[in-house]
Symmetry: C2
Subunit: 82 residues, 2 copies
């Protein structure tokens, strides 16, 4: 298992409820891929979302986000944490 | 106080010790700006670093990173968290 940070663009003006809904969509399908999404941070002004997860691979993280309806190819294995 | 996520590029091949050293440099000067850096995640393959902090402004976060020797202009106010 590795730790991943991924980045989404285009979430300009999104509310906390809408982010919670998007996060719930990830949680609903993540089990199929052995991924767990822990936290999502949103900057509604720039539209950036950062998601922290654990999972078996970058590709598994990408598949969960794709199935949940918000694909991204900006996924980084961040196994070094301080 | 707001919460910020910032992104650095160019940390390819950096070790955990080197990341800890860079993080310590932030901690040594952050007080002057009322900023606190909580966590830094590194992907040594892509060279991306993600830093989570709290502080009074984006500019204050940028000043701390600049004084610590690793400036970035990719700073995002992520006050929405799920």
């Amino acid at each position: 298992m590795s730790r991943f940070m991924d980045v989404h663009d285009g979430f300009v003006g999104v509310t906390e409820d809408q982010l919670a809904e998007a996060h719930a969509a990830d949680l609903a399908v993540e089990g199929e891929e052995g991924v767990h999404f822990e936290t999502a941070w949103l900057d509604p002004e720039s539209g950036k979302v950062f998601c922290l997860s654990t999972g078996p691979s970058k590709e598994a993280v990408m598949r969960v986000h794709e199935k949940a309806g918000h694909p991204t190819d900006q996924v980084y294995a961040v196994d070094i944490v301080v």
